[in-house]
């Protein structure tokens, strides 16, 4: 989960002797069989022949991919990427200072905040979607509070819509963002920031000339993780968004769960997978670069 763990540990003769070589085989076989083969099957399903109104039969045809080559799906892919990127950006913008402040707190406070975050992590997408739609509704939501204070004329609804969807997505991934940023941020030597202060930099200047450049790789890694994660959200866009906010993941589940069109769902998943892999690859590259500099 941690963005900075992507580089493999350096080989050490001592550690090597402590672990027998066959230890690698068990997880290698397990993951190959149970993780890689599913993807291979998915690949074969994506080119299988769809039986309209029925299931699918083995075959090799590009029909499902051809169906994706339309302005309609181009727009959906664009929407998915734009919404996820937006949510990731907002989430990191909130989580990065949060993590920095958290890492500067007393040990006990840090423990409490971490427990709170881990508790929030245990809310499923279903509950988050439902609660936020309640919170943003006209009848029971924060609109009533605003109206009571006199901020707005009467209670109004903020859901469904882009705002509600962004709120939900940010909520969903915020704990992950903090937990991924936490190790590198808390390992950042606080004396570096003190040094900048001593040399005349104000807090903001210190943040932008010291903290941000040093944390560039972890922040990018966390952003990409959060981005990919939101790319896979399929319930929140349905519950909190309008149809034009439905992401590729919504359409994938739609095809798989409602239309029984597994070849088409698989084809869309493969496309989404390629987009995600592209970005994970990017993280690995960035991680390696920063790893060499230490």
């Amino acid at each position: 989960m941690s963005g900075e763990t992507v580089h493999a540990a350096p080989a050490s003769s001592v550690s090597e002797k402590a672990v027998p070589g066959w230890f690698g085989l068990v997880p290698a076989i397990t993951l190959a069989v149970l993780f890689l083969i599913p993807f291979a099957i998915m690949l074969s399903v994506s080119v299988a022949h769809r039986v309209p109104g029925g299931f699918f039969e083995p075959g090799f045809e590009w029909t499902s991919y051809e169906r994706l080559l339309s302005p309609f799906f181009g727009r959906i892919l664009y929407t998915s990427v734009a919404i996820s990127a937006g949510a990731a950006a907002i989430c990191i913008a909130l989580a990065f200072p949060f993590t920095i402040f958290l890492a500067g707190m007393r040990h006990r406070v840090q423990t409490l905040v971490l427990v709170a975050l881990l508790a929030v992590l245990s809310l499923s997408e279903v509950i988050i979607g439902f609660s936020i739609s309640t919170l943003l509704s006209r009848t029971a939501g924060i609109g009533n509070l605003f109206a009571a204070i006199g901020l707005i004329d009467g209670p109004r609804s903020y859901t469904p819509g882009l705002f509600a969807l962004m709120t939900g997505l940010c909520y969903l991934v915020f704990p992950y963002a903090v937990l991924v940023l936490y190790p590198p941020v808390s390992r950042l030597d606080p004396e570096l920031r003190d040094a900048a202060r001593m040399m005349g930099a104000g807090p903001l200047r210190t943040f932008f000339t010291v903290t941000v450049p040093l944390m560039r790789a972890p922040v990018l890694g966390a952003s990409i993780l959060v981005f990919v994660f939101t790319l896979g959200a399929f319930l929140l866009p349905q519950v909190l968004g309008r149809p034009n906010h439905w992401t590729l993941s919504v359409h994938i589940t739609d095809q798989a769960i409602f239309q029984s069109n597994l070849p088409f769902a698989a084809a869309m998943a493969i496309v989404l997978l390629l987009v995600a892999l592209l970005l994970v690859g990017l993280t690995l590259l960035l991680g390696r670069e920063s790893g060499g500099r230490r």
Binding site: P10, G21, G24, P97, L114, V115, S124, A256, L273
Partner: protein, 266 residues
């Protein structure tokens, strides 16, 4: 920014994060069979109902069995994987590390769909074992990350010292390395357990209604059921997470387990 402002920011964000929990808590206290917020009439009857209504007990049992077995299995896979990656810098180590990180790094919908076609092909769709294995693979990343974190914090001098004192490979593993990374193994297990308990899309695609878990049941009750029990379940799960991680925080060094190196200094 001053210390006070920083604390305010943290508290404000925590407050926002708490809002949905307040909503589900409110809903779970409804007297009638409706999901109203603020609740109409306060009652704890739905908390009792969860353990009496058979159609909620069964998913509860499923969820607990799946979460327990899946997180055990994922630790069983993650431990040798992390040890191997830690000890070897070869291609297999690198490949394994990527394989261990990938399941959780991909959009869950994709992983779920992969499992769906896999289990349909194998003929195990709809069996609890399929859900358990799928969850174990999907969540294996969490113990991999925490155990790797623990391994990297080991002082190699300890291993060298053990060797000079004549310990065999197995003795070093059991007597030195495992005790040192045990807290990280436990936190990885807790992570996987709590997330498996709340996982929806993989469980739904792999077994759907045949092996109904609590999140699936909650979603269904949101679709049709109108019972505040779904709020009860959410509240209990949050409480469970607080207890599990609270205990880890109470008896261990949670910031350190989460990867902080300099906690305890201040």
């Amino acid at each position: 920014m001053t210390r006070g402002l920083r604390l305010f920011y943290i508290c404000f964000i925590l407050f926002l994060l708490a809002l949905p929990i307040i909503v589900v808590t409110g809903i779970s206290l409804n007297e009638g069979r409706s999901l109203r917020f603020p609740p109409e009439g306060l009652s704890l009857r739905w908390y009792g109902a969860l353990f009496q209504e058979g159609d909620w007990l069964q998913p509860l049992r499923h969820s607990l069995i799946i979460a327990l077995s899946a997180s055990l299995l994922s630790v069983t896979i993650a431990l040798p994987l992390a040890l191997y990656v830690w000890s070897r810098g070869n291609w297999l180590g690198r490949a394994l590390h990527t394989l261990g990180i990938a399941p959780f790094m991909l959009p869950p919908v994709i992983t779920a769909l992969g499992f769906l076609v896999f289990w349909v092909s194998v003929g195990m769709y709809g069996q609890m074992l399929a859900t358990i294995i799928s969850h174990a693979i999907f969540l294996v990343t969490l113990p991999v990350v925490t155990i790797s974190l623990g391994l990297r914090s080991i002082d190699m001098a300890l291993v060298e010292a053990a060797r000079t004192m004549g310990a065999s490979r197995g003795q070093i593993l059991r007597g030195v390395i495992l005790p040192l990374i045990m807290p990280y193994i436990i936190s990885g297990f807790a992570f996987a357990f709590v997330l498996s308990l709340n996982e929806y899309i993989v469980a739904y695609m792999v077994a759907g209604f045949t092996v109904e878990t609590l999140p699936i049941k909650i979603f269904n009750s949101l679709r049709y059921g109108y019972t505040p029990i779904m709020g009860v379940v959410a509240v209990l799960f949050v409480a469970l997470a607080i207890v599990v991680f609270g205990l880890i925080g109470r008896y261990g060094d949670l910031p350190r387990l989460m990867g902080s190196d300099r906690s305890g200094e201040r």
